[in-house]
Assembly symmetry: C2
Homo-oligomer: 370 residues x 2
């Protein structure tokens, strides 16, 4: 399924770590990349110009949320998601599968799709693979993904049946896709079972997609399970196409999953932690709202070049948190997102220099010392 | 009381309207000017770089609030308010008088000052003129103001006594002031009584201050009362010093009070209205949260050059409001503040061209037509 508008240029590998450039209609994405999450067509508390300032290259939006509110047809009528949210760079929409299974109420699954009730007003809706693609075509993101079933990872028998559905749905998504200016990613599922992940990676690769998402690995399984599943799919997925690990993660996840062949990441953690008054750092977390920082003149992170750390003290950010000022969310979101984007870029640069392992060793050495 | 670091250059007058430049240690302020309010050392939901982008030149902060939290001594220890809130332009702090009388609990006034309890935790505090100046010297704003008593405007007898206290306190503030890099403004009081306003303007002018604030005119009195009081003080206040109308106002207030000799304005309305989902416009208000804007592709204000109006539709801003996204507050605050700053600049340009009355006529013609 070659698509002239999309091309993944694998520039370097270092062990299993990869550096590349993914060309999309709205610009190039250098990988490894961390993608800020804009669930409701806004990265929470962050202006698009702030995203540019922190060198964000691609952002996510959510099919389930935008379908329910304000509606994908309205967004299409207004010129598509890029114009709607004033983000002129690449956008990726997930299919809504995860949200249908995690947020909605009284869902009913059959081979054709899922019937569910809105978490907003209880209204009844039906998603099929074709519908999920049609919504994503209305939204108009550069990268769209297949509709899949997100499962309880602890029930093997159920996962066998769910995987059969997810694979059939992937085939229907591929058939339904009509816009040439969108890339379609398949989603590898199979929970924490090596045989199912193996089967899923092979099945989807044979069908052929523009890229491959790896789903169902941010739902509470252990890190070792997550790493084991990446070890299974890495040699199967085509080297010349991008791999996207959905909903992951933390700084350490970036380092360890890049080591296992992942190119793209997203996670709500940076903006969610910001709203609880917590800063992410290379070595862990800084709960800025805590009393020890009340008089601290230091920035959140002394080495950080983000707008927050180059302008404000921990004491100031803590004051904003205690005073319930919105600016606290803004400044912590900017810092946390900037950190994840910076780590992804550093990983990329290390891979291009052939020094990935040295970077990884240093990353863990700093953690142990702190 | 000449101060080499402060100089008001009156560039032009047009009728009673004035255009000037106020030189301060942190930069020049072109007047007429609208000053965004940053009560708790943050203009709510607006980054300092957003303030620069909208050409804000001077911002306010609040003595009462910052004294209670995080404390003026902490801010002094951290290098002062400019560094604390990362605003490198001029800052004005009000004295806390208004907040002591409007927010605090169980206050007790005597000739020495005011005893009150914090609205945050009920703790007991005592403000004197000397204390209000000392706090403002710790904060380190470019412009500080005298501690005054804000009164119920409807009780003449009480206002006579209160004005005597306010004048004595102004004299004590002037005596207490010690920092040469701060300008001290007196505050003209006298409620809605022409004889008291006349007396107050004369008394303070004779004492001599770097500039003159006009207080107590944003507390529910009628527009005609406000205008009448400005008509009283305008010929008394020194032409070569800046006049600041505290807590006012709306676009129409800017036009009509510039017409009556005012140079400086502040008001919480732009950011407060933003948080209720309402946009300010030249001709009134646009309640963006309302249903008619759900599918409206137009910007909030077609002629507006702010970041919000040049990037986003009413439909998008309404979506953010309905989805309870913080970005709604950010975008509406940017628009509303930009509008007030722009109107102040247009007034200035009209005065410099000698076309103030034409601008004022056109402003009201547009209102009538809309």
């Amino acid at each position: 399924m070659p698509n002239a508008l999309f091309n993944f240029n694998l520039q370097a590998t270092d062990g299993r770590a990869r550096a590349g450039v993914y060309h999309t209609p709205h610009g190039d994405v250098s990988t490894p990349v961390f993608m800020p999450v804009g669930t409701q067509a806004t990265v929470k508390a962050v202006l698009p110009r702030d995203l540019h300032a922190m060198d964000a290259s691609v952002v996510l939006a959510n099919t389930y949320h935008l379908y329910l509110r304000p509606g994908d047809r309205l967004i299409a009528d207004l010129g598509g998601l890029h114009r709607f949210m004033a983000w002129d760079g690449p956008i990726l929409t997930d299919s809504g599968g995860f949200q249908v299974f995690s947020l909605s109420q009284r869902r009913k699954i059959d081979t054709n799709g899922v019937t569910f009730r809105s978490h907003l007003d209880g209204s009844k809706h039906h998603f099929t693979p074709e519908k999920a693609v049609a919504i994503q075509e209305n939204l108009g993101a550069d990268i769209i993904v297949c509709f899949d079933e997100c499962t309880d990872p602890n029930d093997y028998t159920y996962n066998v049946a769910a995987l059969t559905r997810t694979h059939a749905w992937a085939e229907r998504c591929k058939a339904a896709k009509s816009r040439p200016d969108q890339a379609l990613f398949g989603i590898v599922q199979g929970a924490i079972y090596a045989d199912l992940r193996d089967e899923s990676a092979r099945y989807l690769t044979q069908l052929g997609f523009d890229g491959y998402a790896i789903g169902g690995l941010s739902v509470g399984e252990s890190k070792s399970d997550m790493h084991a599943m990446l070890d299974v799919v890495d040699p199967i997925l085509p080297a010349r196409q991008p791999r996207y690990l959905m909903g992951v993660g933390t700084p350490e996840d970036l380092v360890e999953c890049v080591a296992r062949g992942v190119d793209m990441f997203d996670c709500v953690l940076p903006t969610r932690m910001a709203r609880t008054g917590t800063a992410m750092t290379r070595t862990g977390r800084l709960v800025v709202r805590n009393a020890p920082f009340a008089e601290d003149p230091a920035p959140i992170d002394a080495g950080c070049t983000c707008y927050t750390c180059t302008h404000f003290s921990r004491a100031y950010v803590r004051h904003l948190i205690k005073a319930k000022e919105i600016l606290a969310h803004q400044l912590l979101s900017i810092h946390n997102l900037h950190l994840m984007i910076t780590i992804a870029r550093e990983l990329r640069e290390a891979i291009l220099r052939g020094e990935f392992q040295a970077y990884r060793d240093e990353f863990w050495r700093m953690r142990v010392e702190s």
